[in-house]
């Protein structure tokens, strides 16, 4: 009997079209897998078995009736809890929103429903997407399916772990400084942060509005591209949404899978590739091997320098808290979420926010309040915005010479849960290679590059492209994926240790 949870989304969709499997069977298989392993992994905050099966039954009936269906109709999906879903609890990983049921769908939720994909449930995340490990979730951490003692990355650790544990073939993520790419890296899955404005943010609970971008997560480059096309496109409900055609990412993935990269120029960014230390040996080794593969497919590899990246992390940790402190002011104990009564409305508000927010959220709100306060605004926020310009100029100069830029996605393989929880700066350094893309608004992908020699844990390979050129990520990514899976004899996720089935 086929274990459908191991299949790619593209194969599931094709098998349904051929009548070999139904959406109800696929959805049931994933719900059973979730029951069997999610007690240990904790990728999900909420599971909607009835809703998912109802959608699956409708899709099967429509298919039987000969209806024309969207490409991914009937393929189940998990949604990061940052995106609002009408009728399904949405918390963004925060206790302050415990039990809140949104009265509307976000635009991406609507598009997933229109694509007729059964929604399995909502995935765990760091509270309001603030973190790199899911340890800042108000509902307990997610565990990495490769080693349950280790972090699954963050903030989208739930979505990435659900893929790596075969609990879902596709998932929605959000990436403000690496929250799609870093979890993909440490779980040997694929994740893409689209160009800023490429996917509507309407209904995504805002962290830092000038950095946030929803994006697709999958186990293969093609699956990720298929979901990208479902999610992307102009939306008049988001004033930052690009009114332009969706880049041809699925075509690019097919094109790349042919394994020909002749004429493609690839730049290795010196500042985020471990040239100056700070990167684990096994990470650098796998990265170098991937470069060799790209070279053997005809790509030309050159080194480029982006000197202002040295300041990107600092600029990010000024801009993000500033925007977050403003965005999170809406949690005021009046319109939704928790209320801790304490005298008048103002004292109630302060008591509610003290009880409802975790430490990381409090740290960042205070940091943002400080950076925006009179007398400090120019030195912090004003300067950070200038650094943002310098980062963009570095990217512009680099992309004048090369088609894509590459680096390891993260400096290390996943660390142990608890290891960095009391050291915020050490936690922030996880995102050193992913943050520049958010500051500049450009698209980025992480895909598996192999396992590090010293610990046998996943290493991610990051590809960055100019704004609006998301298709380049998929072309280069699919080519590298093909070369690597040929070498491994299959997907890297197949090498993950078997989880105990309960």
């Amino acid at each position: 009997m086929t274990d459908w949870t191991r299949a790619s989304a593209a194969d599931m969709a094709a098998a349904m079209r051929r009548g070999e499997v139904t959406s109800v069977e696929l959805t049931r298989a994933h719900l059973e897998r979730i029951s069997a392993v999610d007690g240990d992994v904790h990728a999900f905050l909420h599971i909607d078995a009835d809703g998912a099966l109802a959608t699956a039954r409708e899709v099967d009936a429509a298919r039987d009736a000969g209806e024309e269906l969207p490409a991914l109709a009937g393929v189940p999906i998990a949604i990061k809890d940052v995106l609002v879903t009408e009728g399904l609890p949405t918390t963004a990983g925060s206790r302050i929103l415990e039990g809140w049921i949104p009265p509307y769908d976000g635009t991406v939720t609507k598009r997933i429903r229109a694509a007729r994909m059964p929604i399995l449930g909502k995935t765990n995340m760091d509270e309001f997407a603030m973190g790199s490990s899911t340890e800042h979730s108000g509902y307990g951490p997610t565990h990495n399916p490769w080693d349950l003692e280790r972090i699954p990355g963050g903030s989208g650790g739930g979505s990435a772990a659900a893929l790596a544990a075969f609990e879902a073939p596709l998932a929605v993520g959000s990436d403000t400084g690496g929250s799609i790419r870093q979890p993909a890296s440490v779980t040997a899955t694929v994740g893409v942060k689209p160009t800023y404005g490429g996917v509507s943010r309407f209904g995504a609970i805002a962290l830092a509005s000038s950095l946030d971008q929803l994006g697709p997560c999958g186990r293969t480059v093609l699956d990720t591209a298929l979901l990208h096309e479902v999610m992307a496109g102009h939306d008049e409900m988001d004033a930052t949404s690009l009114d332009e055609p969706v880049p041809p990412v699925v075509d690019a993935a097919h094109d790349g899978a042919r394994g020909d990269l002749s004429g493609v120029r690839i730049g290795v960014v010196k500042e985020i590739s471990g040239a100056d230390g700070g990167f684990q040996d096994g990470v650098k080794q796998r990265f170098e091997e991937s470069l060799e593969h790209l070279r053997s497919m005809g790509a030309e590899i050159v080194e480029v320098s982006c000197p202002s990246f040295e300041y990107a992390l600092a600029a990010y940790y000024v801009i993000l808290p500033s925007e977050a402190s403003s965005n999170l002011a809406k949690f005021d104990s009046v319109r939704f979420g928790m209320r801790v009564e304490k005298g008048n409305v103002e004292r109630t508000m302060a008591a509610t926010r003290a009880e409802g927010f975790g430490d990381e959220v409090k740290r960042r709100i205070i940091l943002g309040t400080y950076a925006l306060s009179a007398g400090y605004y120019d030195a912090y926020y004003g300067s950070a915005q200038k650094v943002r310009t310098l980062v963009q100029r570095d990217f512009d100069a680099a992309f004048a010479d090369v088609d894509v830029l590459v680096s390891p996605t993260t400096p290390t393989t996943p660390f142990k849960l608890g290891e960095r929880i009391d050291d915020p700066m050490a936690m922030y350094l996880n995102d050193i290679a992913t943050i520049p893309a958010n500051l500049a608004g450009i698209p980025g992908m992480s895909l598996p590059a192999g396992l590090a020699e010293e610990d046998g844990l996943p290493v991610g390979f990051q590809i960055l492209a100019p704004a609006r050129e998301d298709a380049r990520l998929y072309r280069v990514g699919a080519a590298l994926e093909r070369a690597l899976t040929d070498e491994w004899g299959g997907a890297l996720t197949a090498q993950a240790p078997e989880l105990e089935v309960k």
């Binding site: 930052t240 926010r353 927010f357 205070i366 400080y370």
Partner: protein, 99 residues
Amino acid sequence: MSSLERSDVARLAALARIDMSDGDLDRLSGQLAVIVDAVAKVAEVAGEDVPATSHPIPLSNIHRADVVRPSLAQEAALAGAPEAEDGRFRVPQILGEDA
């Protein structure tokens, strides 16, 4: 730029409407001082001549058609509120006892 003191954190927490116990202040002040010192380097690099970027891909004059569209029903808008009464959000008293 000087580092953040415990009293600064207490003042900022009050501005941000987050109650903090002495324990919270002890725990968070040290961590915040480290972060503030680390991010202060943003002021080192960009000179007067560098313009600020607030949005990565600037768009201007974004409008949608000025037509009436369905909105949330009052009941739906109030459904998530901690307390509602007569079709409105109900809040604790706004003014103090002696106001």
